[in-house]
Amino acid sequence: MTHVRGTAIEAVALVKRYGEVTALDGLSFTVPAGTVFGLLGPNGAGKSTTIKILTTLSTPTSGAATVAGIDVLAHPNAVRRAIGVVTQGSGTDRQATGRENLLLAAHIHGMRGRAATARVDELLELFDLTGAAKRLVKAYSGGMQRKLDVAMGLVHRPSVLFLDEPTTGLDPQARSEMWAEIARLATQERLTILLTTHYLEEADHLADHLVIVDRGRLVAQGSPEELKSELRGDAVVVELAPDASVDSARTAVEAMAREVTVTGRTIRARVDNGASAVPAVLAELERAAVAVAAVTVARPALDDVYLRHTGRTFAAASASASGSGSEEVAVA
């Protein structure tokens, strides 16, 4: 949207400590108005903590932030009126109907009478929930609940919408529906959307700009295309057969490619042109008598960006963080 200008969110040197644990370690970023901005990182990276600070739920140990031009520390109530928040998990009352949930949200935001009911009906229609409007939320599917969550965040027509892990726990069908919904909101409703995700493909698919966060720090930022084009060439991934020697395989691949990393029996490397490099790599491996189970070539993906900036694969980071995630403690 070319006519939307300015800055929707600005975070400056946010630090958040919980006792000994540092969840955010000087995180700064700027979100241009009218864009979808992705905050990408493994569990425990500090994404939820960032959202909590920007939505006035939590206060930073140090640093500053503005949302919709309003200082979150000085005027939290003004921020609350300007933003829509979809928290991790859910925020709906299971003992109430979808319609009652939306009406309560409208009433809390000061909407009254016909204005409130008209807006609620409009959102039910928009999110394809009209048929389920009078059912209790506890009877909703996960995808329906999540749609209701997003609808509740939009009741008062906020200028900035926060989506904390909007598709976590959804089945693939519901996830792709949610992606379509978010993309539609961004183009048609002129919203600024800040979304956190630990799905690389989600950030790649939805975000105009993104920052990659790791251990409370920013490790990279830009558009998904910019980040990927920083990586010259294609990724080659070699899966070794069970009895192959990892060390000789590594030496062989290093002779033909750069940025070689080994995880278990998987070797990742970077080459200028995947299609022509694969035969050469395979020939070199054969010469070294290394048995290969599979070879894949891929255009650069965000996973490679993450690997390059943090030195570990995204999956490995997510797995190691899930047991000790500092921010997830508060979320329970």
């Binding site: 939590s58 928290t87 998990g89 003992q95 309560l104 809390i108 329970a332």
Partner: protein, 258 residues
Amino acid sequence: MTTLTPHTGYLTGRLLMATLRQPAFVVIMLIQPMIWLLLFGQLFKRIVELPGFATGSYIDFLTPGVVVMTVLFTSGWAGMAFIDDMDRGVMDRMLASPASRGAMMLASVLNQAVTVVVQGVIVVLVGLALGAEFPGGIAGILVMFLASVLLAAAFSCLSNGMALIVRTSESLIGFSTMLTLPLSFLSSAMIAREAAPEWIQTVSSYNPVDWTVVASREALSADPDWGAVLLRLAGLFVVAVVTGFIATRAFRAYQKSL
């Protein structure tokens, strides 16, 4: 502050609807005080023969006691709804919205007040059916309900405040259980003040639960000492306002931990 009244209305409506949608809970809530009145009424029937009891019928004496104990056992659990909201993400959504914190607390209090009055009516009706007599009449019964609502306000705020601090149902159950029984027995809910040991008499005169029982029983008597009733109602009002204020501050403690 302009949002306090409308928000309280909407949020109270939400809580009352949620209660009505759980019929099993409603039935238990209504039956429990009946059981107490029938059970304790039988068990302690001859207790009135002890010196210190002014009345000859234990049911007359016990009915206001059971009304007040019901208040404790009902509003002591008020915070469970807060914990449910925390677990569901509703609390975070509310706190990140312009919802008035005071209204969130007040809505819980009003929900408890409605529950407690309904339970009180049941207890009074069962008491009457068992032959209880309340010379103070309708006025006396209304004063008992007013005192009960004030105590319910104080207790539900206490429970909500604890919920915001401890944040787990296990801890809140422990806290509530630890508080309700001793506070009941350190009052004249079941036994006449004069029949209790002296130290309990002393402690109970500082116990808001006892103020509620005394105000209720006095108002239900043939010739109430209205000065004594008003003094205790005023005391209960102050306790309710102070706990309400402190509990509303506990939202900050909760947010600090996020």
